[in-house]
């Protein structure tokens, strides 16, 4: 007797409806999915480039239950090279997921949220930010700190003015090196974490960026008095199966694909090589 089971390895169809260039190396891909996909902020999906393979990404569009999805992608490896070079509007890719735990937003509610992002790490942060905006009454404040190499390396720059106007929200930017016409802060993103005008004990942090950035952001946050259990880091190591089987994405006994990928720093801090 044949029995029907869900095939976890099969990707649903995702048609590319629009491609938005964000920076010279980052593009946002907009997808129409063949069925609805419900994801929470902090969860990730596996994007298939047909015949090439899969890579894990946290969507950059608002969390929810929809057949529309955006993913913002840096050209940086085998799968993403092929994506940037070959994929056009109208092509069909594949999506599996969502996977992972997502942010414990219930725990965050009633507190301040500090969002720290760097480079393409802004992409998953945008899903988080949209999520906070959807329920802004439940949060005390949303403070956003973004860093990039240069002004043109910020993704979503067209939306920044709009975000800054949202109630209970502030946005500060920094670039690594001075640039003509830039009047804002210069320096890596940790400079924005000096003299925070937030009640630190009443604040949860979410952060995403290169591992080296996460490391120094964490050290700075601890230095200014944050509790390690209030820091959530987007530890996107190489994840494949998405369901805690193939054992390549672990930090200690945690599987990032299942228990993360956004991990509470307090839970992982005692394991070796947390930052690679």
């Amino acid at each position: 007797m044949a029995e029907e089971m869900k095939n976890i390895y099969y990707p649903i169809e995702a048609e590319v409806t629009k491609i938005i260039p964000e920076t010279p190396t980052i593009k946002t891909y907009c997808f129409k999915l063949s069925e609805n996909l419900a994801f929470k902020a902090g969860q990730f999906v596996q994007l298939t480039v047909p015949g090439v393979g899969e890579s894990p990404f946290t969507p950059s569009s608002a969390p929810g239950d929809s057949d529309y999805l955006e993913i913002t992608i840096l050209k940086t490896g085998r799968v993403t090279d092929s994506l940037h070079e070959n994929v056009k509007v109208g092509d069909t890719l594949g999506i599996r997921g969502p996977f992972g735990e997502g942010y414990p937003t219930e725990k965050f509610k009633g507190h301040n949220i500090l969002v720290v992002g760097g480079g393409v790490g802004l992409a998953p942060m945008r899903a988080g930010i949209y999520g906070f905006f959807q329920e802004i009454d439940d949060y005390k404040r949303v403070s956003i700190k973004f860093g990039a190499r240069s002004p043109e390396d910020f993704c979503f720059k067209n939306e920044f003015d709009e975000w800054a106007k949202k109630p209970k929200t502030d946005l500060t930017l920094t670039i690594d090196r001075p640039a003509p016409g830039w009047t804002g802060t210069v320096g890596v993103v940790t400079v924005l974490l000096e003299n925070l005008d937030l009640d630190i004990e009443d604040t949860y942090v979410i952060s995403c960026g290169p591992e080296i950035m996460l490391k120094f952001v964490t050290l700075k946050l601890l230095e200014v008095g944050f509790d390690p259990y209030h820091i959530y880091l987007s530890m996107n190591r190489r994840m494949s199966c998405g369901v805690g089987k193939c054992h390549r994405c672990n930090i200690g006994p945690y599987y990032l694909c299942k228990d993360g990928p956004d991990m509470c720093y307090g839970d992982i801090m005692d394991y070796p090589n947390v930052f690679g």
Binding site: M5, I8, Y9
Partner: protein
């Protein structure tokens, strides 16, 4: 359940019946070297010989094949997988092989959130005939990882070789069905005592040969404590060439990768055995690698088997002590020595690297 006596003739009748029942594999001792896992057939029953200890191949190739197609995309009706249960039997497994099946079951079958439909199809209706180890190899170390040289559960039928035949333990309903009419008879108390003697003999032999590797604290504690790195890993990994042989012959290693290919205008996705020893295993786009150094990958294997896996699955190791990794290591690395040396701090107190041949004293000449 029932303990019965089986003559050599009765065994042949049983094997014929099993071959008729479904696709059958057996571990055959009638071959050069160590017993080989191969496809069984009624024509070959006459020449078949039950092994006295484990076969040289892990049985994972049957329940978790090296490559398996798991999806075809896009726009195919294969969104859901039709599980076609296969009737298959494996004959001549040992206690360590059965423990290895448990390692897989916990991961792919008993997970509350996710059952792997492909594993389930391979695992269901699997009829298992096991044996007691009446011999043990020099590389066997099941006694060091909570194992015994004879199965206590997980089989349908277990056979203990006694003079002129076998003592047969019939453990399940399908097994009761299978033995109908094969001519088995009640076992005498003398034969039951004989089984105890055989088991004690193998157990004693294992304990004797592995004495030099014993540690005062258990492996989970040792490996967990060494999480930040240990000289034993550096010392024993020095001859490791990261070939991945140990992971591929290991009946408890279950890591895989997903590979996509274009075939005849369609795309297919394969599950393919992977190895944590390969540098690409955890390497990310942009070349970042949390386990970039060979010794980190070497250690990861121990971490997974004795620390991460037991932490997730109620203290069970994902090593069964079969010793196939020791048999197949071209760097002559003995897992027992690496684990034993985690209990000492100085390299001068450690066992030699590469390890002496398994029939020599593992402590070397010193």
């Amino acid at each position: 359940m029932a303990l019965l006596y089986l003559s050599e003739e009765n065994l042949k009748t049983l094997l014929n019946k099993v071959c008729d029942w479904g696709e059958t594999f057996w571990v055959n001792a009638n071959a050069d070297g160590k017993p080989k896992l191969e496809k069984a057939s009624k024509q070959a029953v006459e020449d078949y010989q039950l092994p006295q200890c484990r076969g040289k191949d892990p049985l994972k190739q049957i329940i978790f094949p090296p490559r398996q197609r798991v999806a075809e995309y896009p726009n195919t009706p294969q969104k859901r997988f039709e599980v076609q249960p296969k009737k298959r039997a494996i004959v001549g497994l040992t206690a360590c092989d059965l423990s290895a099946i448990r390692i897989y079951d916990r991961v792919y079958l008993e997970d509350e959130e996710f059952v792997d439909p492909f594993y389930k199809a391979n695992r269901e209706n699997l009829f298992l005939i096991s044996i007691d180890c009446s011999e043990v190899y020099k590389t066997c170390f099941c006694n060091l990882v909570n194992g015994k040289p004879y199965p206590e559960k997980g089989f349908d039928i277990n056979l203990t070789p006694v003079e002129d035949g076998y003592l047969m333990d019939v453990a399940t309903d399908p097994a009761q069905e299978m033995i109908k009419g094969i001519g088995a008879s009640d076992a005498s108390d003398t034969l039951k005592k004989r089984r105890d003697q055989i088991r004690t003999k193998s157990q004693n032999k294992l304990e004797e040969q592995n004495k030099a590797f014993e540690t005062s604290s258990d492996y989970q504690k040792l490996v967990t404590k060494a999480d930040g790195g240990h000289k034993s890993y550096e010392h024993h990994a020095s001859t490791c060439v990261m070939c991945g042989a140990c992971t591929h012959v290991c009946p408890g290693c279950f890591c895989f990768g997903l590979m996509d290919n274009k075939v005849d205008g369609k795309y297919e996705r394969m599950i393919s055995w992977d190895s944590c020893h390969y540098s690409g295993f955890s390497r990310m786009a942009g070349m970042g690698n949390p386990r970039g150094r060979a010794v980190q990958r070497f250690q990861h294997r121990y971490n997974h088997k004795f620390y991460h896996y037991p932490e997730r699955y109620a203290g069970a190791y994902s090593c069964v002590g079969c010793g196939r990794c020791v048999d197949n290591c071209m760097g002559k690395i003995d897992m027992r020595a690496t684990l034993r040396d985690l209990s000492v701090e100085n390299v001068s107190e450690m066992y030699p690297s590469p390890s002496p041949a398994p029939d020599k004293d593992p402590r070397g000449d010193k």
